[in-house]
Symmetry: C3
Subunit: 150 residues, 3 copies
């Protein structure tokens, strides 16, 4: 598998590095605002950074899952590009949320939209493969034929 | 890989859609009970929905991991069925927890049991594969032979 | 894939079992310190156990992701060994944090270092594969040749 999924793997490693960067920011914020673990509450500046990282962490497994489903069953190229856009959106979200609760909104919507695109790709790709394998139904072929006849 | 894991992929995509549904419910609850981020505390109705989603998110990566381990090393069919049962249990858990803290218990136990079945499948499947690959020991063959001799 | 990734699969199953053990500890702590869901705050003893489990859960998907990236693109053996060390570090972290906030530090640094090694392996492995597939550039071959010429 390793050779024909290297684009997905590259995006995945970038996603891990971004997540590591966010975790480091929380550690710095804990020091700066003197919020020692296990506390997770403190000045709003700290809480925003903490929640930004928590939100990104929460979405990380969903992102990785749809990235690979979409990449393996739909298109590696399209999925990798969406993956990069998502990571860029998350970076802007983290920066925006660190500054103000309002600042998180625009990049949050953007990254949510990219995630929906990846979910859509996964659904289409897996549905087509499912029909092919379990129902012996070639939806793409049928559709092409139907379009040719009209 | 994509063709012979399409059952697992279908359950995986369903799991992502369910998780997206839970996230949308938290967004609606934030609006309804006027709890603006980064706050995560508020009226008990909000906190139950928030915790229900947080708990499902926390288990999501574990579920996806055992689903695939069990599906690739034990049986795709059995794992996909367990996966669907788990997702159904999680749906009832989310609905139950939204209504009362008590309401979460029965479906939580159910989904935990299904998860343990998947963990059991993964352990058996990976152990058998491990013995075959690293110890050149065919446990299934040995067992069949032992039973035949008795 | 299932046969040539059985080492990674074994570490993955161990990681799931460890995570299940941590979750059970939180359930016992909720009973012991009478902290009923959805509350997540209570006596410091409870909060430390809760945060220890939350922290391990948060890192679980990142760990599984780099374990597999590193194992598939760099070396299964080296990644599996690092994976076992990480799980051992996390076990000591959970035990240490349960006793005192101070007790979490040494094993936390240890497991973070092991995670960085796995991230490094993933970066190297994926970068080499990327150069080979997309740039038709055999970095290892070039390097070996360059060393031979000097």
């Amino acid at each position: 598998m390793s050779e024909d999924a290297v684009g997905l793997a590259a995006v995945t490693v970038l996603a891990v590095l971004e997540q590591a960067y966010f975790s480091l920011q929380v550690i710095y914020a804990r020091r700066k605002y003197s919020v020692s673990p296990p506390a997770t509450t403190g000045p709003p500046e700290f809480e925003r950074i903490f929640r930004a990282q928590a939100n990104c962490s929460e979405y990380f497994p969903i992102f990785i899952t749809v990235l690979w489903m979409s990449g393996l069953f739909f298109s590696q190229g399209a999925s990798s590009v969406c993956g990069l856009l998502y990571l860029y959106g998350r970076f802007r979200y983290f920066r925006g949320y660190s500054q103000s609760a309002q600042g998180r909104l625009a990049p949050l919507y953007f990254s949510a939209q990219v995630l929906w695109v990846l979910i859509g790709f996964s659904c289409v790709g897996v549905l087509l493969a499912f029909c092919r394998v379990y129902l012996a139904l070639d939806l793409i072929g049928r559709l092409t034929e139907a379009l040719r006849l009209t």
